[in-house]
Symmetry: C2
Subunit: 191 residues, 2 copies
DNA sequence: TGTACATCAGTGAACGCGCGTTCACTGATGTAC
DNA sequence: TGTACATCAGTGAACGCGCGTTCACTGATGTAC
């Protein structure tokens, strides 16, 4: 039966929110529209009242996950002692906690190799998420010089690489070493 | 009809070879057993004379791709002027050529975020590929010290991260900048 | 070396299954008067 | 404010499709004598 406009808008937000969790946890392909809807106690049919396609949901879910991640990093920035903001951001990103919880973590690390084969719209949303990550990196490595920007790109690539590889390996020691080595290497360059 | 033992062994090798190409090009999920077989002019049914499952093929294809990549890097090492071996390896890995051709490139960069959700066997094969990459990195950054190992891990994470992100973005300038920044950052540390 | 038979690589159709998407339907919500 | 009607959020079943895997079959290869 019909729901009020507010209820419908809330449902839509819940679908995007749940999709943002599930896509990060299991990947875009491995999560079906039915998975997302049934996680909310809804049936598949209603999905298409809100979205034109699963792809549109992927686009919005990536944007939502990116916004959550940026907001999380802003919280970390606010709470950390002023001199140690960069270190706090880097340590959080490269933590075993982040490794263990892709569903609430950085969508760039969660989806990077999959997105290489995705549609232009999904790639665009993903690229925006990468830009969000680089803005967070600018808190740890500020400056408008070419060199500062290069160091931010290096830090972002290394951090994403370390988290992704730590998740893909079955060697716990290697996973820890990767995260630790990148944390050390990046923080040496970030006072 | 039945084929000779040599023919059958050759078919098996071709299946693994083609799978190594297709999986890197499109991802493990997006390539079907039928895709691999029909690329060789064969039908699906015969596949199960050679492999117990698609998963077993994925394991062998990752190992094959890793071996190809290590062999390619050995060729680069042999051909480069002795003082510039590290730079040659790094530049090849971080090239637009590598970015444009995942099908013949590093399987670690091609499959990293997908493998996080794969079976233990696939993760084990992938982890071996990561170790292969670290051995290649040891040519550029030799040494048995803890510090040398950490720098290899950092270099590997940054290189994989840069290639993966450069492929996932729709922003060509960002892609080039990522590859360039990591090349610069890593080669500064690698004389 | 020749022959009879077992083996098995590859074919092609079929299997059950889950997918994204569509659709007729329901009944509460929103709107027009 | 009340009423009649249109709208549309969500249901539940159905659609065509491609997937991984199985299987009866074929005929050349391999083996035993």
């Amino acid at each position: 039966m019909r729901r009020s406009r507010e209820d419908a808008a809330a449902t839509r937000r819940q679908i995007v929110h749940e999709a943002a969790r599930l896509f990060r946890a299991r990947g875009l392909d491995a999560v079906s529209v039915a998975d997302v809807m049934s996680a909310l106690g809804l049936t598949v049919g209603g999905f298409y009242r809100h979205f034109a396609s699963k792809e549109q949901l992927a686009v919005e879910a990536i944007a939502e996950a990116s916004a959550q991640t940026v907001a999380h990093h802003e919280t970390v920035t606010r709470r950390a002692p002023k001199r140690a903001v960069g270190a706090a951001l880097i340590e959080g990103y490269l933590s075993l906690q982040h490794r263990a919880h892709p569903e609430s973590g950085c969508p760039v690390a969660a989806l990077c190799s999959e997105v290489a084969h995705a549609s232009p719209d999904v790639k665009r949303a993903f690229t925006q998420a990468v830009r969000g990550l680089l803005e967070v990196a600018a808190v740890a490595i500020p400056g408008e010089t070419k060199r500062a920007r290069e160091r931010r790109l290096l830090a972002a690539a290394a951090m994403v690489g370390a988290v992704v590889l730590s998740r893909a390996t079955d060697d716990e020691a290697l996973a820890r070493d990767l995260l630790g080595a990148v944390r050390k290497g990046i923080t040496e360059a970030v006072p």
